[in-house]
Symmetry: C2
Subunit: 155 residues, 2 copies
């Protein structure tokens, strides 16, 4: 299969998801030329604001492959990832992102994540979302325990 | 209960999670002065790179409350959120973020998400992670279907 075939599968998922009442987003994760998992946007159906197509596909691929590390996999998503999904793609170590619609297209139909991109690029005390430091010294205990743990599984 | 009590619960979760083999992170979501859900980092245990404490707590709170919108809730997290979790917090519409450790503390023990923050602030063609546009015209079909759908549930 060619790259275009994988993207057409992601696009078909996005179209089917609208018919099923979800948002117009689909994603496919591919390893060694084969689809290992797919995902659609299930925010409203699943009561899960994190269930974007890319996050759903990453979770499914990790379950299928029994790992939290998707190095060697690519993601084909019908729309350019939002900051949450892009963060998830980095943590999952996906190799390459192929996208159909871009974020300007998404903004035109009411899915505007440019505000979140802007917020994340600001220092924390300049963001609109209030962030308050609390008990930083007490919070250090778990970090020390992690450092001292001999058999920890890093990730 | 006071703010400090909620943060201490998040910190206690982070400490217990290290003992159970997970990362040193815990989070608590509070509405109207009551804890509605908690979360810990289960990346390695659950084979889920998105299972950070904040994302886990958001998912649990949404299941508990039967909604994808956590307006009116605050999150207490033992460590400043990474870009993925911060994105999730925006999508979930949480009101206020209280954090214990900050991202510099996290970097010192090997959890450095500053690279992801930097990447997200760059234009897509300047990022290290390759992103390629593919079939943008075909991808528009689902967006048109969404626009034309009369009974869609926006979010």
């Amino acid at each position: 299969m060619e790259k275009e075939d994988f993207m057409r599968q992601a696009i078909a998922l996005s179209e089917e998801n609208v018919r099923q009442g979800g948002g117009p987003f689909g994603a496919v994760i591919v390893k060694d030329g084969e689809v290992v998992a797919t995902g659609t946007n299930r925010v409203t159906a699943s009561h899960d604001p994190t269930a974007h197509a890319e996050v759903s596909a990453i979770r499914a691929a990790c379950q299928r492959l029994g790992t939290f590390d998707l190095s060697g996999c690519d993601i084909y998503t019908s729309c350019e990832p939002c900051p949450m999904c892009l963060g998830a793609i980095y943590w999952a170590h996906l190799d390459h992102i192929y996208y159909g619609n871009n974020k300007a297209d998404a903004a035109r139909i009411g899915f505007d994540d440019s505000f979140i991109y802007e917020e994340l690029s600001l220092e924390r005390d300049r963001r609109h979302k209030p962030m308050t430091e609390l008990l930083p010294h007490e919070a250090k205990a778990a970090f020390r325990a992690w450092e001292e743990k001999a058999d920890k599984q890093a990730y």
